[in-house]
């Protein structure tokens, strides 16, 4: 009940916002903020109340579409509660970040945002494959409008590109999903229930456990999620979408939407198709290294592309591609360390990239451009802003003592066991990551103050308020990683044990 409340409170908020008169903008903003704060409070409660066991908690299952044996089945484990907390945290922060810079149609904007939050929260809690898919798609429409209506000059192109790309992935995923459903049993006993399917897929002799079947279905889901992560070569929608999207939407995009892809990989690909997973990541031959190879390509390719960018936001977008590569690499390791590192990296990247996009937004709101070479010397003018940016950059480039390091280090360390060469090559990304962030710091903040920006005002209280919680999380998780690891330790152990029984015996 608590979980359903958390998921659907934003939807309720959307209805309330829609009923408000459209000229009372202050009221709309406040109501939205209120409706995003409720899930946050509930998420914090869940976080505290959650017991670290491998079992699903707060499970609810009611029949929804009997004809196809579809249930409204939700529940959380350590992984989902972590990502729900992230989503719920970014909700109010995004509303605050949209306070001043959304100039038109604030009512529709807020309504769509609330719908988006329901979609995201629901996605992380869904335990029925069909419901999972519905929530997955539910995030697509509001996102499309939010980029396409409130975005920058090339918003239509970016929105359509985002939409089509994701749709392309979804179609493959849908095919795989139907295949799984049809193979799950004889007519009448077929199911979309994720825990049931996981059990069936682990039952020797069952159609779902067939290795060839697993590999193909794995691929279907994988491409669907790969677009979302995004994994090379399905990534080109991301820079465009980020550059055009308003600040808060970029924050959600990088902070949560990308995590939907990696979450799907863990929840579906790894747990449900361990045989397929093993085939692509057991370290034997080309296919056995392919997943790690994709992680490596993401890291190096994303980092080098970021180094060449001169648009601040595009740089951060490409850096996201690089950092998601560490998640892929960690997952490919299929051991406790790698998978824990990957999950930690998901959460940390959510927090850090949210900070980065908020910071880009702060600068854009003042200077109305994002050309890195167009600034210079801002550190003297905006010391607090420079301080926050340095913190976020350092966290993102993996400075030990801040959260980014722990996820990256554990992913690499885990992956090194199986993929020695690829892991060593991936460390190139660590150096290049430092290079583009420090070069940006220099071009924006160091040197002589660009006389154009003599009058640039310092970051204001509302903006500081959006950054402080994220900054605190970055520092706390850097100093005390067990705080987060405690949440999903049991879930990861169970997953790794499950996967280790399969080594792709093809």
């Amino acid at each position: 009940m608590l979980l359903s409340l958390m998921i659907f409170v934003p939807l309720l908020g959307m209805i309330v916002v829609l009923l408000l008169p459209r000229d009372s903008e202050e009221l709309i903003k406040r109501v939205t903020l209120g409706f995003t704060l409720i899930p946050l409070i509930l998420a914090v409660y869940l976080f505290i109340d959650y017991k670290s066991t491998p079992d699903t908690q707060y499970a609810v299952s009611v029949p929804w579409i009997d004809a196809f044996n579809i249930n409204y089945h939700i529940g959380i484990d350590g992984l989902s509660v972590t990502l729900m907390l992230l989503t719920a945290l970014l909700g109010p922060i995004c509303v605050l970040a949209s306070w001043r810079n959304i100039e038109k149609g604030i009512k529709a904007y807020m309504a769509l945002f609330l719908l988006l939050e329901t979609g995201m929260l629901g996605f992380f809690a869904a335990l029925d494959l069909f419901l999972f898919f519905v929530f997955f798609e539910l995030t697509l429409l509001p996102m499309y409008f939010l980029i396409g209506v409130w975005g920058g000059p090339r918003r239509e192109y970016a929105a359509i590109k985002f939409f089509l790309y994701t749709l392309f992935g979804s179609v493959l995923m849908l095919v795989a999903l139907i295949a799984v459903y049809l193979s799950s049993g004889i007519p009448g006993e077929r199911t979309f229930d994720i825990p049931t399917l996981i059990t069936l897929a682990g039952t020797p002799g069952h159609a779902l456990a067939d290795p060839t079947f697993q590999i193909w279905v794995f691929l279907g889901f994988f491409i669907g999620f790969a677009v979302k992560v995004p994994i090379f070569p399905f990534h080109t929608w991301l820079p465009d979408a980020h550059v055009e999207a308003p600040t808060a939407i970029s924050v959600i995009l990088a902070g949560v939407l990308l995590k939907m892809g990696t979450y799907g990989l863990v929840r579906i690909n790894m747990a449900m198709f361990p045989e397929g997973m093993a085939f692509f990541s057991n370290g034997i031959g080309f296919w056995g290294n392919s997943l790690a190879l994709l992680g490596f390509v993401n890291i190096v390719y994303g980092s080098f592309c970021a180094l060449a960018q001169t648009d601040f936001k595009k740089l951060v977008a490409y850096s996201s591609i690089g950092h998601m590569g560490f998640v892929i690499l960690g997952l490919a390791a299929r051991n406790t360390m790698g998978v824990s590192g990957a999950i930690l990296q998901m959460f940390n990247h959510g927090v850090i990239s949210a900070m980065l996009f908020l910071l880009v937004g702060v600068l854009y709101d003042r200077a109305h451009h994002r050309e890195i070479n167009g600034f210079g010397g801002l550190a003297g003018k905006m010391p607090i802003y420079a301080g926050f940016t340095t913190l976020a950059f350092m966290a993102s480039l993996g400075l030990p003592g801040l959260s980014g390091f722990v996820g990256e280090a554990l992913s690499l360390l885990g992956a090194f066991d199986t993929f020695k060469v690829l892991t060593i090559l991936s460390t190139i990304g660590i150096v290049v990551g430092a290079a583009y962030f420090l070069w940006t710091l220099q071009r924006v903040f160091l040197g002589k103050l660009n006389p154009k920006y003599e009058e640039l005002p310092e970051i204001n209280k509302r903006e500081i308020l959006t950054l402080v919680p994220l900054g605190i999380l970055t520092i706390v998780l850097g100093i005390w990683p067990n705080f987060a690891l405690d949440m999903f330790r049991e879930s990861v152990d169970e997953l790794v044990t499950l996967m280790n029984t399969f080594q792709a015996g093809l």
Binding site: D66, Y144, F304, A308, P383, F445, G447, P481
Partner: protein
């Protein structure tokens, strides 16, 4: 008592920084951040001195779990042995003195409080590195000191040269750090215990003792040493340290001479038990090459700080050489003595710069103005020397600045290895003796070569250090205008100089020569080769300050008595030979320097002209920077642009191409479809958006609201229909 004391040592400077950071959020600052930071450091110093008598005979780690994953736990903890305590005292002492010096030196800087906050953060990080009992903790402190170094080198970030230098320092050291991380990963997976803890039953060192995998161990050792190559500015990653002189001079003294750069030596010493013969030899060679390369570059510099920077690199090479040659105690001993006399030299040069500084309105020097806004990764470096650091503008300062002169002279005598009454002599001699001893004991040609290199470097060091003294303090003033402005520094600056000068005498020696205090850890993978040489019975007895060279020498050698006897003999003889030779080369260096730069019997210019190619090689710093900027950085940026272009034109081109082709196919096969159609559904949605967008822009009406209500209604309807099925 140990844990609370170490906690205070760490938390005091951290608190000083945190207060600054938190108040900074509210756009405030503590009224006297300088006193706060200095007080914190003095507290840490007091606790460190107290720890001196707390060192337990059998050190035991105090740990807490940091990351627990399944059956693997990474713990964080303190490890306290005699080396830790000595490092703690060196760091807190130099840091305290630099804090005090900075009160005078940084006076009037617009970011004065920030400077002290950064110093506090640095001190915390450095102390954390020193007390950590595991590789992960060392790595964390390691990177944090790198961050502080970055912030402090770029403290006067308005200068483009400073902005470039701080970036270069961070990136260059990061290259080494990545190597170190890979080395850590190899150790982690290759050894029996899955841990980063170094000590105790389940630690890396006990796992190393039982492993036979020498190849992996050598690779891991060399890779971990890569971190030290970066941090301690060893060839080939040394180029950042001279540029780091763009930071304020107290920073150069604290971070880039006494403590952070010595962290690499500390790490290598801590890794002593995992070294194999081959990794030791690599370390020794890197150290030896660094010592000679940096020393030769230092001869031709005119910037007083750069001379000292290259000197630092050279001396760090010495320490590495010692550890690589198995002289654990000698390496760490030199670290200690060097920390004091080099900090003194830097602070002294700061005092000189300060004396000249009154001419300049402020730290944004002239040369910052004429530098263009240089936004490229490739940049010029060190080509122009700030006038107040150019030794060609100095001369005759000894009367104007007597305290600075005398203290710097003491440090110079110490670093040059003037015998017996200066600490530098003892530590340098211990290194030379150790290398020669290993050469004789193992009959190893490598170590003979290294000894030769080290001896040359010692002579060159004496030469260029006295060149600095003669050019700065002797002769006639070369720039009368600047000379007239010069004045002795205030007492907050001279007192630290005097204290450090006192420490340049052999006051710390008894710690190092007391065999029970510092003991080298065993090296399970290093044994003397079979053909070890048995020295003749020559004995040149030598006793001074109540210690005999024979005693000092026998720290090396195995447990086996016969082997130990041989080693003992070899080292005894070696130390005596080394001592005589080192006194000779130091004397020669000083004599030549005197003839060149004081008596002007020879002309340096004439020699430079005669040996033009060699001079050019030294003057251009062996072209390392040209290679890195011209080749590596350019290639990297070029590669990045290539990738970005590839992304934009090829990958995205394919995407857009597929979209276009899809459009065409649709348009052809379904004639009445609009040619904009890529996907029927999407297009409809898109048109709705465009229409909605247009309308919102116009009248802010609720097209989307309507749409949302439709969606909501649709969902409800679908649910109801399906429920009915």
């Amino acid at each position: 008592m140990v844990v609370p004391l170490i906690s205070i040592i760490l938390l005091a400077p951290l608190a000083a920084f945190t207060i600054f950071a938190l108040l900074g959020l509210a756009k405030r600052s503590f009224p006297r951040q300088d006193l706060l930071s200095t007080a914190a450091m003095l507290v840490a110093l007091g606790c460190s001195l107290y720890l001196l008598k707390e060192v337990v005979p059998k050190p035991d780690p105090h740990t807490v779990d940091w990351i627990s994953l399944g059956n693997i736990t990474f713990s964080m903890g303190f490890y306290l042995d005699s080396v830790t305590v000595i490092m703690l005292i060196v760091v807190t002492l130099v840091s305290s003195l630099v804090h005090i010096f900075s009160i005078g030196y940084m006076h009037g800087d617009p970011r004065y409080p920030r400077f002290f906050a950064y110093l506090s953060l640095f001190s915390f990080s450095m102390l954390f590195l020193v007390v950590s009992d595991n590789l992960l903790g060392i790595y964390i402190g390691w990177e944090l000191v790198g961050l502080c170094s970055y912030l402090l080198i770029g403290f006067w970030f308005e200068k483009d040269s400073a902005a470039n230098a701080c970036k270069k320092a961070f990136l260059t050291t990061r290259v080494g750090d990545v190597g170190m991380f890979i080395g850590m990963m190899i150790l982690f997976w290759q050894l029996d215990f899955k841990t980063f803890s170094l000590y105790g039953e389940g630690g890396i060192f006990s796992a190393v003792a039982t492993t036979d995998d020498k190849l992996w161990l050598s690779i891991a050792g060399i890779l971990i040493f890569c971190g030290a190559i970066g941090k301690s500015a060893q060839v080939p990653l040394h180029t950042w340290l001279p540029d780091a002189m763009e930071g304020p001079t107290p920073v150069s003294a604290l971070i880039h001479a006494a403590t952070m750069v010595a962290a690499g030596v500390y790490l290598t010493a801590r890794m002593f038990p995992i070294l194999t013969p081959s990794s030791s030899l690599v370390i020794a060679y890197i150290g030896g090459i660094t010592a000679i390369v940096a020393a030769t570059i230092a001869i031709v510099r005119f910037d007083i700080k750069r001379v000292l920077a290259y000197s630092t690199i050279s001396q760090l090479g010495y320490m590495m050489l010692a550890i690589g040659a198995g002289s654990y105690v000698a390496g760490l001993f030199h670290l200690t003595t060097h920390a004091f006399f080099k900090a003194l030299l830097f602070l002294g040069s700061g005092s000189v710069i300060h004396a000249f500084h009154a001419m300049h309105a402020h730290h944004d020097d002239d040369h910052a103005d004429n530098a263009e806004h240089d936004h490229s990764l490739v940049h010029e470096h060190g080509s122009e020397i700030p006038p107040d650091q150019d030794m060609r503008n100095m001369g005759g300062l000894r009367r104007k600045m007597p305290i600075t002169f005398i203290t710097m002279l003491i440090a110079t005598l110490s670093i040059s290895g003037v015998p017996f009454i200066f600490s530098g002599f003892w530590s340098k001699d211990k290194i030379l003796g150790g290398v020669l001893g290993r050469a004789m004991e193992w009959n190893s040609i490598h170590h003979y070569v290294l000894f030769g290199i080290a001896l040359c470097a010692a002579g060159i060091t004496a030469f260029y250090m006295f060149r600095l003294i003669f050019m700065t303090f002797f002769g006639e003033p070369r720039n009368q205008e600047m000379h007239n402005m010069a004045h002795e520094s205030p007492w907050v600056m001279t007192v630290p100089l005097i204290v450090l000068a006192a420490l340049s005498f052999p006051v710390v020696n008894h710690l190092w020569f007391n065999k029970d205090y510092v003991k080298p850890p065993p090296q399970p993978h290093i044994q003397a080769p079979q053909h070890a040489y048995v020295p003749s019975d020559t004995k040149i007895g030598f006793t001074l300050f109540g210690l005999s060279e024979a005693e000092a020498a026998d720290e090396e050698g195995g447990t086996d008595t016969e082997q130990s006897d041989k080693a003992h003999h070899a080292h005894e003889v070696a130390h005596n030979i080394a001592m005589v030779l080192s006194i000779i080369v130091a004397g020669l260096g000083i004599l030549l320097s005197w003839l060149f730069y004081h008596r002007r019997r020879f002309s340096a210019e004439a020699v430079a002209t005669t040996f033009r190619p060699v001079y050019n090689l030294f003057w251009n710093k062996y072209y390392f920077d040209e290679f890195y900027d011209g080749v590596l950085v350019t290639l990297t940026v070029w590669k990045a642009r290539l990738f970005a272009k590839f992304d934009l034109s090829i990958i995205d081109g394919i995407v857009n191409g597929v979209a276009t082709i899809t459009q065409k196919i649709f348009a052809a096969s379904i004639g009445f479809f609009d040619n904009r159609v890529v996907d029927g559904i999407v297009n409809r949605v898109a048109e709705v958006t465009w229409a909605a967008g247009g309308r919102i822009r116009r009248i802010q009406t609720g097209a989307i609201q309507t749409y949302l209500f439709v969606v909501l209604g649709g969902i409800v309807l679908i649910i109801l229909i399906f429920r009915a099925l």
